[in-house]
Amino acid sequence: MSTAEAAHGKPILLFDDECGVCRFIARQVRKAAGNPATATLIIQPIGADPQALRSINPGLDIWAAYATIHVVMPDGTMKLGGEAVAEVLRRLAATAWLAGVFSIKIFGARPFQSMLNMAYTILADVRPLFGCESCGAPAGWLRPFAWLIQSAKPLFGAPRPVPRPPHFSRRKTKEASASF
């Protein structure tokens, strides 16, 4: 590790700043972590510069960082997905007690950690339903729900969805951003 953060010996939580759900969760974590000077965790957006990310950890790939939540540990290792969530919970004073259960082993397996991994996967899959265009198309098992949500929107006065080509994430203009 070569960044100033590494000198503080704090893990770095990287979050997807283009995803509203992720921004909301990062805000809550930041609030729970308290004063940045005394917090045991650094929370920072992934950003748009692959080189800057590699300066945090040479093994950190920006595509991978956007695909799955990453926590970069002070020793240079990385925790991903549910393991990263457990690490965040472990670092927050309010949830440190809960994080202990994810280390419990039963017959060599960590059932609570497995449940957390599954919960993270479900949350990651569900993000597009909350209007996160940058998160991609909903996973196959969620498409009926996505269809229902899209179909129900006009009933509540929301504008009909604008037809758009597949595999496409609409760019946020300044005007569009201002309306949210």
Partner: protein
């Protein structure tokens, strides 16, 4: 990613490598946070390796270069814009992450 076959351009490099270039050039307007761009990336890397003798493929990160995105009226990502001798000859919004399709787009005649 171990080897990047696609060079990322900033505005100054875009002018030199695309606008003032001779021959065909393809530019992917993308964003790292876009899941569709992530799906397309390995396919585009493969396409860049296949066509490297005849054509260059570049990327422009619209989060870093919003001015270029405005200039080329990029409505979303990924958008693949084809140029020949500095002039746009075609574009495709949200190309499917299929190598045959990408090769067809980037090698389409002007």
């Amino acid at each position: 990613m171990q080897f990047d076959a696609i060079t990322t351009l900033n505005a100054a490099a875009f002018d030199a490598m695309v606008v003032q270039a001779n021959g065909p050039v393809a530019v992917e307007f993308m964003s790292y946070g876009c899941a569709y761009c992530r799906a397309l990336e390995p396919v585009l890397q493969r396409a860049a390796e296949v066509v490297q003798a005849e054509e260059k493929i570049f990327r422009v990160n619209i989060a870093v270069e919003p001015g270029l995105a405005e200039s080329y009226d990029i409505q979303g990502t990924p958008t693949l814009v084809m140029f020949r001798d500095g002039s746009e000859t075609g574009r495709v919004e949200g190309p499917p992450p299929v190598l045959a399709d990408i090769l067809a787009y980037v090698t389409q005649p002007a």
